[in-house]
């Protein structure tokens, strides 16, 4: 049956394809960067072909590396980790789980996607400018990002387009969140009290509220920095700034102000990426344990607690920015407190698995869900180091942070996305992905994800600075180069393994048989199974 464009499943598919395209782009960029990090002076013809100005003679310039870093971070954070778990699978399953026929505003839902698509187009345009893409990372810290072309190649039109892209993305995300909140509050079956709502729906609901509270702040900050760039105001650029022989005309702005505003959005963004994954994992663990999740009510309150605390800890990203030590202590205590509701969730997942130990079914989505728990615990533990100002002072600008956020925000969320893709594929496309291929894909991904990101902690211990395009010029990093090469090889293998998933996806869509009525044979009495 051909569905209308405004149908929630059609919109879910559109978000799914956009996220899939984005993750492929993001992974390819990371491979190019990893290659450059360990073979910085090796000439590659493909680089010259792709970036004739940034890689003359096939050797990448530091500026090109930074522009790839910026695009990788932006694509992954906004167009993969924000869109796939929330917009793709939220759209797919929320009305089903609530007993509603559709989202509260189907047309608005499609419009939100189209706005997001425009944002993606603007992001791609930002790297296709004559001077190359912006260099200031996904956090776009001023003054580098606020000064215009004088700050470097790509910092002119490219950076401006980047800010417009993010502003447009904020509008799409806000409209989408309005839809989710209205759907949960008003479209829920009248016989479903809020506390009986499936955990996954709870998590989409809380994520939408987080989006509504945090994206407006990023939008406001984006408007102010665009005025600094385009109109010459001084919100974020300090007085007397010199760049080479150029004296900036700006007066009295503060780069720290941007950091406060950005991280007021940026830290909740971590939970916008991970909370839907937690809901998905709860659903899958419950479904294949054949029982209701252990401590259901505690799971809901833990989600609320994580979201609430997540709004109050932005300062831990600024421990090394010159924060008042008393503020740092407050932010540190609140940050470490997030460990409590996170531990409640982990305990409940493990308790559910333990109680169902004889009845567990290790299907592909279940494997990814259990893998999520492992990755989440690993990433959470390194967070305890970074939540303490004294330790963060050393770790903050090192690969320890790169390891931490890739594990907790990237890999954990991706495992949630894989669990959802395998589990809800019958709802998404009416077919079931190949299980054997799926399991091989899981085991290899699990091992190689650890092989890629765990050694980065050790690189961090050794003081390897992040955002550097080349480690070979530093004597103190020479002993770490073999480790970096190992990471690069693991990353290439991890990316290659994903071809199994792509192959599975294409083959199933092309030749796969239609899914049966209840393809996973889940217990109809278990509400989380939907």
């Amino acid at each position: 049956m051909k569905l209308p464009l405004t149908h929630h499943r059609t919109v879910a598919r559109l978000y799914f394809w956009l996220s899939l395209g984005s993750v492929i782009l993001g992974v390819l960029l990371s491979l190019v960067m990893r290659f450059h990090l360990v073979y910085p002076s090796k000439a590659v013809g493909l680089f010259q072909l792709l970036w004739p100005r940034g890689a003359q003679g096939g050797v990448m310039t530091p500026e090109l590396y930074l522009s790839l870093l910026t695009l990788h971070g932006t694509v992954m954070v906004f167009f993969v980790l924000t869109l796939a778990p929330m917009n793709a699978f939220g759209n797919l399953m929320l009305p089903r789980q609530l007993g509603a026929a559709h989202m509260a505003f189907p047309r608005l839902n499609l419009i939100s996607f189209l706005i997001t698509l425009v944002s993606f187009g603007l992001l791609l345009a930002s790297v296709l400018t004559e001077d190359g893409g912006p260099l200031s990372g996904w956090t776009a810290y001023p003054p580098l990002s606020a000064l215009g072309a004088i700050a470097g190649p790509g910092q002119g039109l490219g950076q401006t387009l980047w800010f417009f892209s993010i502003g447009v993305f904020c509008i799409g995300a806000l409209l989408s969140s309005v839809n989710v909140v209205a759907t949960v509050i008003e479209m829920r079956s009248p016989t479903m009290p809020l506390m009986a709502m499936p955990i996954a729906s709870w998590n989409w609901f809380i994520t939408a509220i987080l989006s509504l509270l945090s994206f407006p702040v990023l939008l406001a900050a984006g408007m102010l920095i665009l005025l600094d760039r385009l109109a010459g105001t001084s919100f974020f650029v300090p007085a007397g700034l010199m760049i080479a022989d150029y004296k900036s005309p700006h007066m009295g702005g503060s780069p720290l102000l941007w950091q406060h505003l950005f991280w007021f959005f940026g830290h909740p963004e971590v939970y916008i990426a991970i909370l839907p994954g937690m809901g998905i994992v709860t659903t899958v663990i419950s479904a294949f344990s054949g029982r209701a999740i252990f401590g259901r009510r505690a799971m809901i309150f833990a989600t609320i607690a994580i979201a609430l605390l997540g709004m109050l800890v932005w300062g831990h990203h600024m421990f090394t920015s010159g924060l008042n030590p008393w503020s740092a202590i407050a932010f540190s205590i609140l940050t470490l407190a997030i460990g409590v509701p996170s531990a409640v969730k982990t305990f409940n997942w493990l308790a559910t698995l333990w109680l169902a130990r004889g009845e567990l079914r290790l299907t592909t989505p279940m494997l990814f869900a259990v893998g999520f728990v492992s990755i989440f615990v690993t990433g959470g533990l390194s967070g305890l180091f970074l939540g303490q100002p004294e330790l963060d002072a050393y770790f903050h600008d090192t690969y320890f942070v790169v390891a931490h956020f890739h594990i907790i925000m990237g890999i954990a969320a991706l495992f949630g996305i894989f669990a959802a893709t395998f589990y809800w594929f019958p709802f998404l496309f009416g077919k079931v992905l190949n299980e054997t291929l799926g399991k091989i894909h899981f085991y290899l991904t699990f091992v190689l994800a650890y092989a890629t990101f765990l050694p980065m902690h050790f690189a961090g211990f050794a003081g390897t600075p992040r955002r550097y395009a080349d480690f070979t010029s530093f004597d103190f990093l020479t002993p770490i180069l073999p480790l970096q090469k190992g990471i690069t090889h693991a990353a290439f293998a991890l990316a290659a393994v994903q071809l199994l998933f792509i192959g599975n996806l294409i083959w199933t869509l092309w030749r796969g048989a239609a899914a049966a009525e209840n393809p996973w044979q889940t217990n109809a009495d278990n509400g989380e199974a939907y």
């Binding site: 509603a100 909140v181 900050a221 001084s234 009295g252 702005g253 503060s254």
Partner: protein, 217 residues
Amino acid sequence: MPSLTQSNIGGPPPVHPELPPGGGGGDGDGGRGSGGGSTRAASMTAIIVVMCASFMTFGAFLSAMVIRRGLSNDWHKFALPRILWYNTIVLILSSIAIEAARRMLKRGRRSYFTPLWTIATVLGTLFLIGQFTAWNQLAAQGVFLVGNPSSAFFHVMTWAHAAHVVGALLAVIYVEFLALKYELGTRGRTWVDASSLFWHFLDVLWLGIMALFVFWA
């Protein structure tokens, strides 16, 4: 509403009684809200949520302003043009007119609705014209976006507020259009309630901005 007993916690989603047994909704298969259009309650919830998001945007501007002022010594207060006071009165009057129109419609006194709503629309338009005049008068005094952080924040906040007013005004004009065509059905009445609620929000927001720049910034 059923009570939360142990047996139904974690049970299947209790779907709408009109649904066929055995499953949740979704896919336009007749669950709650089937028929395509959004419900009135959903629209009212959505407008409240939009107000929260707008509030956060202005909250971000305000907190940026507090920090920016505290950090620098280049902050200069400037005299607000008198027309801003007139604009404030115009906006309050438009809010009163729009509320009166909404209440008249609710009480079934349809003949009062259109004139009152028209007055609100005209006053809303006048407010925008007044804001343009205020920006021009400030420019004539030498107060621009660039140069003084106080005036920069004033311009940013009043521009953002005016952008919200333009959006709300389009909704108000749409209702006006429906009213003049005598097509204010159930859906039109939802537009009336939602747009008037948002209009009041913009009114309160404006009073907050004025208070900020009169007493502090």
